[in-house]
């Protein structure tokens, strides 16, 4: 299910893998090589054709954020201009009363 990506998958006790959830769709961050692709909007459009429901197109960062079925990852990654497709991770900081933040 995870595929053999060069960057591997996050692991460890602190990491809740979004792909392990029972939800039918997963939130994805699609990273685009902006130098290789004509326009980010065109890539986003191609991603939509592949089943991504686009939430945000981030032109300055070169990233598209959206949701798609878990099994669409390979297809999304094959879209021209896409360099990687990663599940959205959660990030959190310590609670306000912690001494170390």
């Amino acid at each position: 299910m995870l595929g053999a990506r060069a960057w591997g998958r996050p692991s460890g006790p602190d990491y809740a893998d979004p792909m392990a959830q029972d939800e039918p769709t997963t939130a994805w961050i699609v990273t685009v090589d902006v130098h290789r692709s004509a326009s980010l909007d065109a890539v986003a459009s191609a991603l939509e054709d592949c089943g991504l429901r686009v939430d945000r197109v981030l032109p300055a960062a070169g990233v598209v954020h959206g949701r798609a079925d878990r099994d669409r990852r390979e297809a999304l990654a094959a879209v021209d201009g896409v360099t990687s497709v990663d599940p959205v991770r959660d990030v959190s900081i310590a609670p306000p009363d912690a001494d170390v933040q």
């Binding site: 996050p10 990273t31 032109p59 300055a60 360099t83 170390v100």
Partner: protein
């Protein structure tokens, strides 16, 4: 080792009787055309002129050198005049007395120069936090004016009295929450990077007090966020052309996360520098040095470790992850840091690589203001200016981030000129 160019003198500090004319400017036309014309006009006997360097060697002639000095002063060219010295190849033990004694007292490379008022152990004073002192913010003469600093965090307490007259742009990337700070962490980080140096009621705690603040809320009141909110905030900061983007956040995962690598690259291409907290996953006293997590482990993101007021590595500060981009790049004050806080409390003292990161962001803003550098050049300057510490580089990178003291351009003579004015 290079041999000495021309070495008639017996010691490494012998003067040749000739003078060096240095015009330190990035204006190519000045170096290639104007300087040689001025040397010629003054009638100086030029031994050699190197337009790529803006350096000439001339025969000593006090009157003519004074004329050159006046002319450069009129034209506001940054002139320095120095006696030429001879040097020797460093293939034998350095003569300590000669090396230390003969150096110009204004030479910034002199390690014994007592230019910095504060030395470790640092301590908060009535005027400034130890962090503001340690990064040498005040002596820098810079304030961050004209530089946009984005802090992507839990938002900002816009009603904080210490920020009454500040220009702040705030935006939320958290669903169902406004840009206000429901946690405190964001207001603390913004305080360190861009807060006041003289708030009046308490000690000054801001490194770059005149920087323009962009507060991007990418973590909710519960301290939680996701790649989606963080990347949206990054994109927003880049669209606002922020020179510095500070991210006191991360996840304890070893894997480099591709979207941050790409976003960091886009940022550097666009003249923005992203600094991020190395992470608090170490417990050094228990033998666990931790590792730099994402996004700080991206090669295009500067990772910041935390040191204490005695310039020791903080117990929680994460160590370099042994892979490309996984290094700690620089260290900054991150233990017992006093800064602004949201709500009635208004101020708070806490620790973390989250507190170290905005110190670097503030330093970056000061350097961006004083040098005009952006992106990779700014990154290189931060690393170059850092004070090396007697600690492993895998913990502190290039050392304690500092801003160099204000450079007073060498314009004009010390005493008023008495010679004829040159038209």
């Amino acid at each position: 080792m290079d041999a000495a160019p021309t070495a008639p003198g017996p010691t490494s500090t012998a003067e040749t009787g000739r003078w060096l004319v240095v015009v330190d400017t990035d204006d190519v036309d000045v170096r290639h055309r104007e300087v040689p014309e001025m040397l010629d006009a003054e009638g100086l006997s030029v031994v050699g002129y190197y337009p790529r360097l803006g350096v000439a060697v001339v025969e000593r002639d006090d009157d003519r050198l004074e004329g050159l000095r006046l002319r450069c002063h009129e034209r506001r060219r940054p002139l320095t005049l120095l006696p030429e010295r001879t040097y020797q190849a460093l293939d034998r033990p350095v003569d300590g007395t000669a090396a230390a004694g003969a150096d110009s007292p204004t030479n910034p490379a002199d390690p014994d120069e007592p230019a910095e008022p504060a030395e470790p152990p640092f301590a908060d004073t009535a005027e400034h936090t130890w962090g503001v002192q340690a990064v040498r913010a005040v002596a820098s003469g810079a304030t961050g004016a004209g530089v946009k600093v984005a802090v992507l965090d839990t938002g900002f307490a816009a009603d904080h009295p210490d920020f009454r007259d500040r220009r702040v742009t705030a935006e939320s990337f958290i669903d169902d929450e406004g840009p206000e700070d429901g946690h405190g962490h964001g207001t603390h980080c913004i305080g360190t990077a861009c807060g006041p140096r003289a708030p009046g009621t308490v000690r000054g705690y801001g490194v770059a007090p005149e920087a323009e603040i962009l507060a991007g809320k990418v973590l909710g009141a519960d301290g939680g966020g996701s790649d989606a909110s963080i990347l949206a905030g990054l994109d927003w900061a880049l669209q606002h052309e922020c020179a510095v983007i500070s991210m006191s956040l991360g996840s304890d995962v070893r894997e480099v996360h591709p979207p941050y690598v790409a976003a960091g690259r886009r940022a550097l291409e666009q003249g923005s520098l992203i600094v991020a907290a190395a992470g608090n996953n170490a417990s050094r006293s228990a033998g666990d040095p931790g590792f730099v997590g994402a996004p700080a482990n991206s090669p295009s993101v500067m990772a910041v470790g935390a040191i204490d007021a005695e310039l020791r590595i903080a117990d929680f500060s994460a160590r370099t992850l042994p892979r490309r981009g996984g290094q700690v790049d620089v260290a900054a004050p991150g233990v017992e840091i006093f800064s602004s806080w949201a709500g009635e409390q208004q101020h708070r003292t806490i620790s973390g690589t989250s507190m170290a990161t905005p110190h670097v962001a503030g330093v970056a803003a000061l350097l961006a203001e004083s040098t005009g550098l952006r992106g990779r050049a700014l990154w290189a300057t931060i690393v170059q200016e850092a004070v090396r510490l007697d600690l492993p580089s895998i913990d502190v990178g290039s050392g304690l981030t500092v801003v160099p003291p204000l450079e007073r351009p060498a314009e004009g003579p010390a005493e008023e000129p008495t010679g004829e004015p040159t038209a």
